[in-house]
């Protein structure tokens, strides 16, 4: 390896020999050589670090491969949690505790029934649960979020109060999300109540993340969404949040309530209502969505046009036909796409639109027919 100090010595010696000591050129050469040398050293360091990391990962994988069959054997042999703990405690060295924890967590993720209960009890008796509870009450945000994730994965009922406390005391979104997710997975009535109360008072939480929490317990949440919507909300942002949730969990019970919101005074709420009705997929919303095609707000009309296609509302063809000549381009595009999804009758309307005097109408009709033309449709039906 090049030693920058040797190069420096050589350069200085050469400069002295040539009688150029202290000239600007020599200083520059020295500087370049030093930078070059340092770069080489830095690169070598990074390579070494990377190698060390890969080697560590490999060792962990090897340990997992060694421990997994042991856990599988205990799980599939109808052993009690006590046996599992005794066996694992006696054969797994202390230095492999973290790897064993990972193996238990990874298996708990996709197992259920007695098998998961055995894992959860082993997790508790081997001391991991107490460690995670201690971490949850500590300070590091990443570690707290990770601990909550572990407790949720293991469905540790005993951890519910600590998770609820961490949820209310933390301002960190990752910790909040992990706690909500964990409580939802634990799924006791108290844990679910905590989640629902929190969600009802925190509309700023990202919709998809909340949906992820709720989907874990879809059945338990549908009733609450209905209650929230029925109670009514003066704040449009909260109402929009609830409508989004109903759409995300495809809660068909909320369709009559959301349909009513198509006439809400706030255009944003009306638009999200139209969108969620399309997502939920209940055909009974067709007439109201066709009516929303006459809304004064283009955003609402565009969402309604899209929803009519998703719901395959054949009775709404004339409303979508009017959508083709809407002043707003997104309404025209969504209407054309939806018509292309409504069988022969929809396609006939689109083919007629190819003869429109309006260039914009001809354009969207042609694009929709091309994208969802007979060839494409046959292919889909064939599959």
């Amino acid at each position: 390896m090049i030693n920058p100090y040797c190069l420096l010595d050589l350069t200085l010696a050469r400069s002295a020999a040539n009688g150029h000591g202290g000239s600007t050129v020599d200083v520059l050469i020295v500087a370049v050589l030093v930078i070059l040398g340092l770069t080489v050293l830095l690169f070598a360091g990074l390579v070494l670090l990377r190698m060390a990391g890969s080697s560590r990962e490999r060792r962990i994988l090897e340990k997992k491969a060694h421990l997994s069959p042991l856990v599988y054997d205990l799980l599939t042999e109808d052993r009690s949690a006590g046996d599992v703990v005794a066996t694992l405690g006696s054969v797994v060295p202390a230095r492999d505790r973290r790897v064993l924890e990972q193996v238990l967590l990874e298996n708990s993720r996709f197992l259920k029934g007695r098998e998961r209960e055995v894992l959860a009890e082993a997790f508790d008796r081997l001391g991991y649960l107490d460690e995670d509870l201690a971490t949850l009450g500590g300070h590091g945000m990443v570690r707290k979020a990770e601990a909550a994730f572990h407790l949720g994965t293991m469905r540790c009922e005993r951890a519910a109060p600590a998770l609820a406390a961490a949820l209310s005391s933390s301002a960190n979104p990752e910790v909040q999300f992990s706690c909500l997710n964990a409580l939802s997975k634990i799924g006791t009535p108290e844990a679910l109540r905590t989640v629902m109360d929190y969600l009802a008072s925190s509309p700023e939480m990202e919709t998809l993340r909340v949906a992820e929490v709720i989907l874990e317990r879809k059945q338990e949440f549908t009733g609450f969404l209905e209650q929230w919507l029925e109670r009514g909300e003066a704040d449009p942002s909260r109402l929009t949040f609830l409508v989004n949730m109903a759409g995300a969990v495809k809660d068909a019970h909320t369709v009559p309530l959301i349909t009513r919101l198509l006439r809400h005074e706030d255009a944003g709420v009306r638009a999200r209502a139209a969108f969620s009705l399309g997502t939920i997929g209940d055909y009974t919303a067709c007439d109201d969505l066709a009516g929303a095609m006459g809304d004064g707000d283009a955003g609402v009309r565009a969402e309604a046009a899209e929803a009519l296609g998703k719901l395959q509302c054949e009775a709404a063809i004339s409303a979508l036909e009017r959508g083709l000549i809407d002043e707003d381009v997104s309404v025209r595009i969504n209407s054309a796409i939806s018509l292309s999804q409504l069988g022969e009758e929809g396609r006939t309307v689109l083919e007629s639109a190819l003869l429109s005097v309006e260039e914009a109408v001809r354009e969207v009709a042609a694009e929709a027919l091309e994208a969802y033309g007979p060839g494409e449709r046959d292919k889909r039906e064939g599959s």
Binding site: S68, T76, F110, L111, K112, R114, E115
Partner: protein, 126 residues
């Protein structure tokens, strides 16, 4: 080796595949694993297993596409298929039965229950 019934697992998560394989091998079956739909399909074509366990969500080729191809091929259409689906995907279950699956399990699942179903299906000849 040759007299053991052969099961192909098509599952992209190695941890799940490992556990199923462990349990089924202990129950006396020979088990091979394909980590995506395409690989699993190749294994089925080469080895003609007695049963296939097919995850729905897989990279490269999903479980439904594999099922459709298996059921469309004269040589593989009679191989019984158990689908593994995610919770909340009831529509998947119907679609799977429609395409020719004989049974399904929803994740999270019990590996003992899966083994019992494999045993039952193979005992009645698929």
């Amino acid at each position: 080796m040759g007299d053991r019934q052969l099961v192909v697992i098509a599952e992209d998560e190695q941890q799940i595949a490992d556990l199923i394989r462990f349990k089924l091998e202990k129950s006396g079956y020979e088990v091979i694993w394909g980590e995506n739909g395409k690989l699993a399909l190749e294994l089925v074509s080469e080895r003609r297993p007695d049963l296939v366990i097919l995850d729905v969500m897989m990279p490269v080729m999903d479980g439904f596409e594999v099922l459709r191809l298996l059921k469309g091929d004269e040589d593989t259409r009679n191989i019984p298929v158990i689908m593994l689906t995610a919770r909340g995907m009831e529509a998947d279950v119907l679609r799977g039965f429609d395409t020719g699956a004989v049974d399904y399990l929803t994740k999270p699942f019990s590996v003992s229950e899966l083994a019992a179903r494999v045993k039952s299906i193979l005992a009645r000849g698929g």
